[in-house]
């Protein structure tokens, strides 16, 4: 069963008096444990597509299923629960809270599902260790480099043990060396069975994924299996 499935999904926004179709009749499925990239220029609709996959927005047409659950008719509360339990988010801006330590930032999503106590803390420290920041647990974000902050953000995205990791331009604010280390982490996570969906405008970054969906004018313009998939 696909972990993400879109069947003729469409989304339209109103901008002033104008109606803009951001996503049109998108049909795609992602199998568990896959590493896919969604590539397209600015305005192509890849962010809207990510919103729909992440249950951050509902489509106006078509069907969306996350881990077999149809999300179209779910309430905001139910969508929040799905996001908390099944999906991890990594953003370009990191979104680390400046007054919380690395450990506390990682723990944040667990607090929202009532798991902010000792067992949650223990898991947070384990995750920081996994991303190579076990010794920086008590550091504040302004004491960390850009690459370290993004690694904290990745650990945070994993705290509630999600099945899917959605990454929106995760290396956008990083230099090439740090970008490479982040991608390495993504590949390692994918090897453990987590489904990776990375949105980027860089074909070079996208080549690290197993499948690349090219988006243009709100539709899937093509799907390419990369050398990674083909064992290259």
């Amino acid at each position: 069963m696909p972990v993400i499935e879109l069947v003729n999904a469409s989304k339209t926004y109103r901008r002033g008096s104008e109606l803009i179709t951001a996503v049109r009749d998108v049909h795609m499925s992602v199998e568990p444990g896959e590493f896919i990239a969604i590539v397209g220029p600015s305005g192509s609709g890849k962010t809207t597509l990510m919103n729909i996959m992440g249950c951050v927005d509902k489509p106006d047409g078509g069907i969306v299923r996350i881990d077999g659950v149809e999300t179209n008719s779910l309430s905001e509360r139910e969508l929040t629960r799905i996001r908390a339990q099944k999906i991890g988010f990594v953003f370009q801006q990191f979104f680390l809270l400046p007054t919380l330590t690395a450990e506390e930032n990682v723990l944040l999503p667990a607090v929202f599902i009532g798991n902010g106590s000792n067992s949650g803390r223990k898991h947070a420290l384990e995750l920081l260790g996994q991303v190579g920041l076990g010794s920086r647990a008590k550091h504040l974000p302004d004491q960390l480099s850009g690459g370290e902050m993004q690694r904290v953000a990745i650990a945070r995205a994993l705290i509630n043990k999600p099945k899917i990791l959605l990454a929106d331009e995760p290396t956008g604010n990083l230099d090439s060396r740090n970008a490479e280390s982040i991608l390495r982490i993504f590949r390692d996570l994918n090897d453990t069975g987590i489904t990776m969906v990375m949105v980027t405008h860089s074909p070079e970054l996208a080549s690290h994924a197993q499948r690349v969906f090219h988006i243009k004018d709100g539709t899937v313009d093509g799907v390419v299996e990369t050398a990674t998939t083909l064992g290259g």
Binding site: N51, V56, Q93, F112, R156
Partner: protein, 385 residues
């Protein structure tokens, strides 16, 4: 970690802003606490002063309760005199336990001081059963009893002589009052006859203090005394009511100013917290993305606002407590009548009310920003193309 920890830590994101906001609340809270304490203390002090005076009624030729109170309690002068022959008539009224004729005069003393002389007779002791005297009462016409403060200022003790150049009279100190905490501490008590001679008011009195045996019968006794010609009776309760009415206008003004201060505090907190929320909208959007419900985001902001206000409230109460003597001095300057005891008195209920009001400021000011934060959509966290 909990939502509470999250809120508390977020207060330190912009420490200067948090401190300034809390200071605004502290100022409003200090004002509220001081005014409430004054409200409690003034009435208590006034009631005690009235009770300590031993005078349930004052008979004089002046019917204004304010003037009567000023006369009875602070030794104010009234340029009208009561004939001394009224005293036995007053004493004969059923229900009267003790009466004392008083002749009160002031004279300029040393160092721009005004010396208040109370000419009284032996009946005065019946009106002041709480007085403790070192030494004793008058022995002759040249005896003087000093209030505790008067004795300290004059540096005199029992047995010493004291000369007043302003009235060209010398007395022997027969007694010094233990501190009463009332205006009596500052008076010079001399025999009534001596005072009448010195100030050339033979057979005249400023007023007659009356103590009744049963306070429940005050009105009946008053009616009896008022049958005597050319006298005016003012009860202690009337004095107190009149003073409280007069002070009531000042209090209304002070509470109006307080209301404005509280509104400003609410608006100040609202503005600061709303500004903070608008700066963090994408962050709240992120929290919604990762599983925070709108209710959780609402609670984070509201807890932060309440904490800020309660911290401000606490410091305001501390400032009110430690600055009470300054508040006392300032209030004394604007009041038409101020009892001699402390007017700003602390009470647990006052503290609880102040906390409740500052919490209400927090709740009210925090409602809109919290709602605004809770409306942050998860999409706001995501990069806009």
């Amino acid at each position: 970690m909990t939502l509470l920890t999250l809120s508390l830590k977020d207060l330190w994101r912009k420490p200067a802003r948090s401190i300034l906001t809390a200071t605004g609340v502290a100022l409003a809270s200090a004002t509220l606490f001081s005014l409430l304490s004054f409200n409690v203390g003034y009435k208590q002090s006034l009631k005690k002063e009235m009770a300590d005076s031993g005078i349930h009624m004052l008979v004089s030729t002046e019917g204004c309760p304010m003037e009567a109170a000023s006369l009875a309690l602070h030794g104010g002068e009234i340029p009208k005199f009561l004939p001394e022959d009224r005293v036995p008539l007053i004493r004969a009224v059923p229900g009267v336990r003790a009466v004392t004729g008083m002749l009160i005069f002031s004279a300029p003393g040393e160092n721009n001081r005004t010396d208040l002389f109370y000419g009284v007779d032996n009946e005065m002791l019946k009106l002041k059963p709480h007085w403790r005297l070192k030494g004793g009462w008058f022995k002759d016409d040249h005896s003087i009893v000093l209030g505790s403060e008067a004795a300290r200022v004059e540096k005199r003790d029992v047995g010493d002589k004291v000369f007043f150049p302003e009235i060209n009279a010398e007395f022997t100190v027969t007694g010094v009052l233990d501190r009463t905490g009332s205006e009596d501490d500052g008076f010079f008590f001399i025999p009534l006859k001596t005072a009448q001679t010195l100030f050339n008011k033979q057979g005249k009195l400023t007023g007659v203090g009356v103590n009744v045996g049963d306070v429940e019968q005050i009105d009946r006794v008053k009616d009896g005394i008022e049958k005597i010609p050319e006298v005016y009776v003012v009860t202690a309760q009337q004095m107190m009511d009149q003073i409280l009415n007069l002070v009531g206008s000042s209090k209304t003004l002070m509470f109006a100013v307080l209301a404005i201060a509280l509104v400003i505090a609410v608006l100040g907190v609202l503005n600061t917290v709303l500004m903070s929320v608008m700066e963090k909208l994408r962050e709240f959007g992120y929290m919604r993305c990762v599983g925070a419900s709108p209710g959780a985001v609402f609670r984070i902001v509201l807890i932060e606002t309440l904490t800020l206000c309660l911290i401000g409230g606490w410091f305001g109460i501390m400032a009110g407590m430690f600055g009470s003597s300054i508040a006392d001095t300032l209030i004394r300057k604007v009041l038409p009548y101020a009892p001699s005891g402390r007017m700003v008195v602390f009470d647990w209920s006052t503290m609880i009310i102040t906390f409740a009001v500052t919490a209400s400021i927090g709740a009210l000011a925090g409602l809109y920003p919290s709602w605004k934060a809770a409306q942050a959509a998860p999409m706001q966290a995501i990069r806009n193309d």
